[in-house]
């Protein structure tokens, strides 16, 4: 190993000794002469690294950028040789820190934000969503089941309605409300705050809830499930309320316009949380830490998509729902959005050459 490195170091550094022979003569120690022969390369690498760290990529000549990986390996081999032959602590520490800094750049996030976004939208997101299909299935089952349970509980005993539906929704929409009151809540637009502000507020609120659903997955996914259950049980209870007055389809239409997007986003956030929780609880034959890290990265991609979906949902809820006051129109928009997300996630396959 050491011998190989010496030869490699001599091969790469030999031709480039920028310090004159006279200076090489000057050092009494063999290890210092070794250093003098190579310090030109070290300092060149340090200058490139310093400029790259400062983010001034454009001002670095192409030749230097191309030289970076080669110089990195040269200096790394200098380090392995120096460790075996030199006792100069300051030089060793310098080399070690230089190799580390260069390593962070050579193995740093390679893609800029724009590249990442393009890959993410053009297949990365749908691939990540497809890879957690089992968790989506579980989350969907839980959500569907708790909607049914919410309905059944309230139809068995209407008092349940007050514990299932939080106060902010249960203003006038309580068991015993007349059809007119319920209808008003769906179609009356007077007294609403200005739409765009409302939409933005909804987004930052919902995004925080979705992030919470994901983050709670850390505790083996159980809190995530509870969050999904409590939210969809509310939905079941409200469905029951509107069903009682023959307004089921109106309510579904009112909900679907943003709900198909928002509920899918919450479903994905819950599934992402479950995915992390499941991989921590059942890591299989990998170490727990590795399993958690792999699941976490997949889930994080999904979560970025969830945030995006919530932006769309908030815009739909803030604008479209209040501008479209007709059941058929609302159902059309909601149905179209659902179809769009399904096609996007199930249909968009990443091209093999862009997979990296």
């Amino acid at each position: 190993m050491a011998l190989g490195s010496i030869r490699l170091g001599a091969l790469l550094g030999g031709g480039k000794a920028s310090v004159g022979d006279a200076a090489i003569e000057a050092a009494a120690l063999r290890s210092d002469r070794f250093r003098q022969e190579r310090e030109g390369d070290w300092q060149r690498l340090e200058a490139i690294v310093r400029r790259m760290e400062a983010g001034r990529l454009r001002r670095i000549p192409d030749a230097d950028l191309l030289a970076l990986p080669v110089l990195y390996r040269t200096v790394a081999s200098s380090l392995s040789v120096a460790r075996e032959t030199s006792l100069d602590a300051a030089t060793l520490a310098y080399l070690e820190s230089l190799v580390q800094r260069a390593w962070f750049l050579v193995y740093g996030p390679r893609q800029g934000f724009a590249t990442w976004l393009r890959r993410f939208l053009g297949g990365g997101l749908s691939a990540a969503v497809r890879s957690i299909w089992l968790d989506i299935l579980i989350a969907f089952t839980v959500m569907a089941a708790s909607t049914v349970v919410g309905w059944l509980l309230v139809s068995g005993n209407p008092d349940w309605y007050y514990s299932l539906v939080p106060g902010q929704f249960a203003d006038a929409r309580a068991p015993g409300a007349t059809r007119a009151v319920l209808e008003k809540a769906l179609y009356d637009q007077s007294g609403k705050d200005s739409l765009s502000v409302f939409a933005t507020y909804l987004f930052s609120n919902n995004a925080q809830v979705a992030i919470l659903a994901f983050a709670l997955g850390f505790a083996f996914g159980l809190p995530t499930l509870m969050l999904l259950v409590s939210n969809t049980a509310t939905l079941g209870a409200m469905l029951w309320l509107y069903h009682g007055q023959g307004l089921t389809l109106d309510f579904v239409a009112w909900l679907s316009i943003h709900g198909t997007t928002e509920l899918s986003a919450i479903l994905l956030a819950g599934a992402a949380g479950l995915h992390v929780g499941r991989s921590i609880a059942f890591p299989g034959d990998r170490p727990v830490m590795q399993a958690a890290a792999e699941a976490g990265r997949r889930a994080a991609t999904v979560m970025a998509g969830v945030t995006l979906m919530l932006v769309v949902a908030a815009v739909l809820e803030g604008f479209a729902r209040q501008l479209l006051n007709d059941m058929a129109q609302r159902l059309t928009v909601g149905g179209f959005m659902l179809l769009f997300w399904l096609t996007y996630y199930a249909g968009l396959r990443r091209k093999p050459e862009s997979a990296a």
């Binding site: 009494a28 300092q43 390593w103 962070f104 934000f113 930052s204 850390f218 830490m289 792999e294």
Partner: protein, 308 residues
């Protein structure tokens, strides 16, 4: 370097093998430094929020009747609505995107981390990916922002149960880094990252360049210091590197003290006045001897180790 520092470094350093098979030591950041970095970042975010809010209020022309005007349907109302949206978006970005944006950069560190000499890295020695940065920062929400907002929320009323629950929740995640060897917080665990020290060392001058180090006579006294086998075998690598540090720092009292100690140990009586030249010569010859031994696979860790 005193002993506690050395021990702490040894405890925190992790050997990392790069894909090319080069091994080097990463030093896991201390919990104190990370807390400091977080505090700095939060202060910075606070300042950003304050400035954004003030600028937007200034643009809006004062807070008076803001709410009523915003609801009005005229042009002024639309402009105000737009400003309120900008404010919401800015708050969301400050809360969620601040850390990601900086950690995706070439330094891999937020301004706070940078000031504390820290950066993030991938635990497995591979490439740090955008997904990792994303994952580690999504978890920050339950570790930090959620408990804080719950606490401030609970502080309004006298809901002791809520206060207690959020305090317990906060503690579990806030103290998470204290319960594992690598000071990982929950986000690091999920993302497969860790926070390490970002070293920055300058290249110091070579030691054996001139004067008595090269074996010539001392300029002050004309003496040529040459040490024999017995004198050079008194010390090992640890003492050599201590001597190197003393020579590089070049503090007069330290040099005199070390000179005295070495002379006592090897039984020389060169007198005072030429300490630096003496130590230069001794350092170079000791290092030549120890490095010679290294080349043949014989190392002497310190003065207590067997003869090299």
């Amino acid at each position: 370097m005193n002993d506690p520092v050395r021990k702490s470094l040894a405890r925190r350093s992790r050997r990392l093998v790069t894909p090319e098979g080069i091994a080097f030591d990463l030093v896991v950041g201390t919990r104190g430094a990370r807390f400091g970095a977080l505090a700095l970042d939060l202060i910075l975010i606070g300042i950003l929020i304050l400035v954004t809010t003030l600028v937007l209020i200034y643009i809006a022309g004062g807070v008076a009747n803001l709410d009523d005007r915003a609801k009005a349907g005229d042009a002024v109302g639309h402009a105000l609505q737009f400003l309120i949206i900008v404010w919401f978006a800015a708050m969301f970005l400050f809360r969620n995107a601040y850390f990601m944006m900086f950690e995706l950069g070439p330094r891999g560190a937020t301004p706070g981390k940078r000031l504390m000499g820290l950066r993030i890295a991938s635990r497995d020695g591979g490439r740090l990916s955008a997904e990792m940065v994303l994952a580690r920062n999504l978890l920050r929400d339950i570790e930090l922002f959620l408990p804080i907002s719950m606490l401030t929320y609970a502080a309004g009323g006298d809901l002791t149960a809520t206060k207690f629950a959020s305090a317990a929740w906060f503690l579990i995640f806030a103290l998470f880094p204290c319960f594992n060897r690598d000071s990982l917080r929950a986000g690091d665990l999920i993302a497969g990252t860790w926070v390490v020290e970002a070293p920055k060392r300058k290249l110091e001058a070579a030691m054996s360049l001139g004067g008595t180090a090269r074996g010539s006579a001392s300029a002050a006294t004309g003496t040529t210091y040459t040490f024999g086998e017995a004198e050079l075998s008194a010390y090992g690598e640890y003492e050599l590197q201590t001597l190197e540090r003393v020579l590089r720092e070049n503090r007069r009292e330290a040099i005199i003290a070390v000179h005295e100690a070495i002379c006592r140990k090897i039984g020389w009586h060169p007198g005072a006045g030429d300490e630096r030249a003496f130590l230069d010569a001794y350092y170079t010859q000791l290092r030549a001897r120890l490095e010679g031994g290294m080349r043949f696979g014989k190392r002497k860790a310190d003065k207590y180790a067997g003869a090299a």
